[in-house]
């Protein structure tokens, strides 16, 4: 009887120890926070750091043209209201997704661009992952390059950040894996040969060598969901925006890098 009790006690202690380890592995401490750029090869880093070899700049240049081009029934260009993007758009991408009072929920940068198109320019919204939407968001986000991602201060965002955190920790798909299992607990380790980064979305939209194109954060999130054999949320789904919001809040303080280059 005493031996049995002792065994139970040992098992219990082990469980407590396991729980403590799991908690310690949880959220990344501010001192350990690192950009995804720290996890790529030196060659890929050089591609990103030199604008003349960064393929994302092709989209940025396209976006600059679109910024000045009148569109829609109103015949207005982005530049008509917002002027020079270098001044008016500096820091904007670093504080998105932001709260949209009209919708009563957060809106991401591509959502905002499309809202401006449909409501102010009287134009058709751009399709998700279209050349135009990626180009404009890349151009706008590039204006924030080097600025730290802002900590969201709007209290109305709280419940949506919490939902994003819940989704980040939610096990998904046939592999039954949560985002946090890799990006909180196993960053720096390898997943089939590739280094697992911390999942800070500071360089989006970014050029993935695997895509051979620029892509949005939503595309990347859907990729990971397909990777764990889950049904991905549709482009523009509120869940994806909440995840984007949570990830940006989690990355607060890291510098913006758009357009990034990743393997």
């Amino acid at each position: 009887m005493r031996l049995w009790l002792r065994c139970c006690l040992v098992v219990y202690c082990l469980e407590v120890a396991a729980v403590v380890v799991a908690a310690a592995a949880g959220e990344i401490s501010p001192a350990d926070k690192r950009s995804g750029l720290d996890f790529v090869s030196p060659e890929t880093r050089r591609l990103q750091e030199d604008d003349t070899s960064n393929p994302g700049m092709l989209w940025v240049l396209d976006g600059e043209r679109l910024w000045r081009e009148p569109a829609g029934a109103a015949g207005a260009a982005c530049a008509g209201c917002h002027g020079e993007a270098a001044a008016s758009m500096r820091g904007v991408a670093a504080r998105y997704p932001a709260f949209d009072p009209a919708a009563g929920r957060p809106i991401d940068l591509q959502g905002r661009v499309n809202e401006c198109r449909s409501q102010r320019q009287g134009a058709q919204p751009f399709a998700f992952e279209s050349q135009e939407l990626l180009a404009l968001t890349a151009f706008i986000a590039q204006q924030s390059r080097g600025l730290p991602v802002a900590e969201p201060r709007d209290a109305r965002l709280r419940p949506f950040i919490d939902n994003g955190r819940r989704l980040f920790r939610q096990r998904l798909g046939q592999l039954d894996i949560a985002c946090a299992d890799c990006h909180d607990d196993r960053w720096g380790e390898r997943l089939s040969g590739s280094l697992i980064p911390q999942a800070h979305p500071t360089a989006y939209p970014l050029y993935r060598l695997e895509w051979q194109a620029l892509g949005s954060l939503q595309r990347r999130l859907r990729n990971c969901m397909i990777g764990v054999r889950a049904e991905p949320f549709a482009f523009g789904a509120p869940e994806l925006v909440d995840l984007e919001l949570f990830l940006m809040q989690r990355a607060a303080g890291l510098p913006m890098e758009t357009p990034g280059v990743r393997p």
Partner: protein, 105 residues
């Protein structure tokens, strides 16, 4: 197609200069199929030429293994002030061109 050229604007006579070019192009290999199973026809940039005041100083033949948005970097010798012209030609017969001026002292 949209291109970017990075080359020095000025150079000394006889100096070796590096020129970096990049162009947006899907470089469709011809080996892929779309979601309904239909083969996507090959469309790659198959030739790149750089001329210096009309004289060819560099050319390249490209193949389907080259990634999208090809970056081509090469060197040439700065001989005189003049124009460097670049031309990329793809399988559809479209040619994209760009020019830059260089001042040689």
């Amino acid at each position: 197609m949209r291109s970017m050229i990075n080359a020095p604007k000025t150079a000394r006579r006889g100096e070796v200069i590096e020129i970096k070019t990049m162009i947006s192009h899907p470089m469709e290999t011809g080996y892929r199929r779309d979601s309904s199973g239909v083969a996507i026809p090959r469309n790659i940039i198959n030739r790149f030429v750089c001329t210096y005041d009309g004289e060819q100083v560099f050319s390249a033949e490209l193949f389907p293994a080259v990634a999208a948005n090809p970056l081509i970097a090469f060197t040439t010798v700065a001989l005189r002030s003049g124009t460097l012209s670049f031309a990329w030609t793809d399988d559809l017969g479209h040619t994209e061109t760009a020019t830059i001026e260089i001042t040689v002292t």
